[in-house]
Symmetry: C2
Subunit: 424 residues, 2 copies
């Protein structure tokens, strides 16, 4: 059997080379040598964007203020070893693989064919020939990873940030343990779902024996634009969602509300961020039977335009003194003004996971938010919403997790890896 020549030497392999695709050709993979643009594609630039690369390395992890890609595969893992060395070894392997994947390379040098006939392929192959598609991979560590004083299996219990307590139970939470928690999370976002799924799968594969997938979630149709270059998308209730979200171009808000600074004593988290994930099931059928006036009353915005009720245009300032916006309308309770100045960076996706067996779509919003400190941002916001939001009649929080996402892997530091500030 004849196979094409492939460069299995390591650093310069790209899925594109093997297939002779168009574009920039091989991309150097290594410390700080990634190329590309970090803007998300618009319709007009979709072709170019399929090949574009979001830099993996930097002061911060990508996938946080990166303009939200179109698709997501989110997975959490339970660590199945008690060995700190094995955990650290896996994080190092993951880092190397993640950096390769984000430039569109196969997961390991040689990939599908490099190991020969008598080895399992080093890459599972379903993204072979596909492009980088703006893939970002973002890691986070859950409270459970840090253990307890009685069971400090990885020797990091003393390094657990004060901001990484388990989230409190909120009123009306209906959480499924099988869709909640996890020792480690990886968020894969890309413009092609097959690229995101491929990334999670190959990372899960090399974790075998050290960590296994606890739950995962596929998302489509980003609901929260995170850049002024993106139009506001709609959630499955049909409303524009994320109009007043923090935009990545708003550097003061990003600095104030997104990046942790280690002030809670966890120096290793400086430049990182806290990720809150909530699987929010939408009660699609009752919502669809609600009249337009009720839907707009609940949200506080026009369904067609996204404008705050009483205002003309989507981005008009929400006038909380207006009696057209109900006391417990969603936008009032979620507004920064009502919350004493709190903001969060939302980066959620719509989901549809088939049907629930009762003739209803199992659909909703996979809410993802990044905060400098979830305890002082997400928690008070959700406490207000969980108690009073008119929307609660139509939604149910069925999954929940919190993760500490460490800072980025710095340019030019070959010793750094995902979590190296924690395990240093």
């Amino acid at each position: 059997m004849s196979l094409p020549e492939t460069d299995t030497g390591g650093k310069r392999f790209s899925r594109r080379r093997l297939f002779g695709g168009v574009g920039a050709g091989a991309v150097a993979v290594g410390a700080g040598v990634v190329v590309g643009r970090s803007t998300a594609p618009t319709l007009d630039t979709a072709a170019a964007a399929a090949e574009s690369v979001v830099p993996f390395r930097g002061a911060h992890q990508s996938g946080i203020v990166t303009p939200a890609q179109d698709r997501m595969h989110f997975a959490t893992f339970d660590v199945t070893t008690d060995s700190r060395d094995e955990l650290v070894a896996m994080l190092k392997k993951w880092t190397t693989m993640a950096e390769r994947l984000t430039v569109g390379a196969e997961s390991v040098p040689g990939g599908v064919v490099g190991g020969g006939q008598y080895e399992p392929p080093g890459d599972t192959g379903e993204a072979y020939g596909l492009h980088s598609s703006n893939l970002t991979l973002t890691i986070g560590f859950g409270p459970s990873l840090f253990g307890t004083a009685d069971n400090d299996r990885f020797g990091i219990v003393d390094r657990k940030p004060a901001a990484l307590e388990e989230l409190p139970r909120f009123p009306a939470d209906d959480l499924d343990p099988a869709r909640s928690g996890g020792d480690i999370a990886i968020q894969a976002c890309a413009d092609d779902p097959q690229v995101a799924v491929h990334a999670i799968r190959n990372l899960a594969r090399i974790a075998f024996g050290t960590a296994s997938i606890r739950w995962s979630q596929l998302g489509f149709g980003r609901t929260s634009s995170t850049s002024t270059t993106q139009a506001t998308a709609r959630n499955l209730f049909g409303f524009k969602d994320g109009t007043n979200n923090i935009k990545s171009e708003d550097q003061p808000s990003v600095d104030d509300y997104v990046w942790a600074n280690g002030s809670d004593g966890s120096d290793w988290m400086a430049g990182g961020s806290y990720l809150v994930a909530r699987r929010i099931r939408m009660k699609i059928e009752p919502w669809d039977r609600a009249v337009l006036g009720e839907q707009e009353r609940v949200i506080g915005r026009s369904k067609a335009t996204g404008a705050p009720l009483g205002s003309a245009a989507e981005f008009d300032t929400v006038d909380l003194s207006s009696n057209q916006i109900e006391k417990n309308a969603h936008i009032r309770l979620a507004s920064s003004e009502s919350l004493g100045g709190i903001k969060i960076l939302r980066r959620g996706y719509n989901f549809t996971d088939g049907s629930d067996g009762f003739g209803h779509l199992d659909a909703g919003l996979f809410f993802v938010a990044f905060c400098r400190d979830a305890m002082t941002q997400f928690v008070p916001m959700q406490q207000a919403l969980a108690r009073k939001d008119l929307l609660n009649e139509y939604i149910s929080h069925v999954g929940s997790a919190l993760f500490a996402c460490p800072p980025g892997v710095p340019d030019g530091d070959d010793n750094a890896y995902w979590g190296s500030t924690l395990f240093a």
Copy 2:
């Protein structure tokens, strides 16, 4: 509250008009007046393709030989009424809505806002502002819809085609009744998942009281190219899938193997096709641990290039006399030559539905095939595969259904609707 001017007069409303999007502007919705191109997008034409429209009307339903779009939402329904009139009324409403949706219009005239504050919105809104995205909607009728002599609730038991028996049980079938069967199926394919999900949801919504969703499946990454303009895509085992699939440009094969001609006495199916759906769970983790030689032996092709083992290139003729292709390799058993000339048109999608609770991805292939007669095409093929295919070690069929897809709604016939040849 000020709302933009919308044309709620009925026939000329488009989602695009409201949002002032680029492109051809409003598209006339009505008998035979649809516009657009039916070719699927390549990377270079993705921007243009987002606005392109696959004609809804014609001798055959779209979504069968239409070049496979990137995403799918497939739903089956149980009919909950015993009234033929209510069923026919729903099919008529569905037809009108489906034709609107495929041109990127809202599901009903006026859509989100047309009914006013005191009505539920006529369109659920999540595709508001999105493009037509090559949406196709394809309907099929399951064996159960036709009832029995003892319970002929819709008066169509005598019109049940001989080719529409329930599929036999195949060796190793592990079918979940909750993911099998259904009185009616609708396959929505589009280049944007939100457009496909929106279509199914709005059709399900107006079926309330007449039919309810039995099960649904979201798919991505079309695995079977159905046009010579499309590169062969890869399934989640990392192999090119569908190399020898029937291509829509091969008119003799389409005529011989795809379109029913009513020869079994079911005149109403002439120009239609039989749809077989099989949810095939892939045992991802054992597969990923199999060596490359084993994977290629099972499939009978090179993983990297897709070439038949012993040959040089993907589209080289499969040489069944070659002893490099194992006796029970997948491509040997599935080949037309081994099956006495049988071919089918495959149109499947990859799926990943989270995890299975045991640390494994719930992932695989949602197999969809169209046949002139499933009993003489799919059934003998699957009997051969189910008994002998080496691939069976790594897959499990967990869902199954068969539907008779009637011919298309003809151009210029305002009295025709989905299934009108059956209920005439």
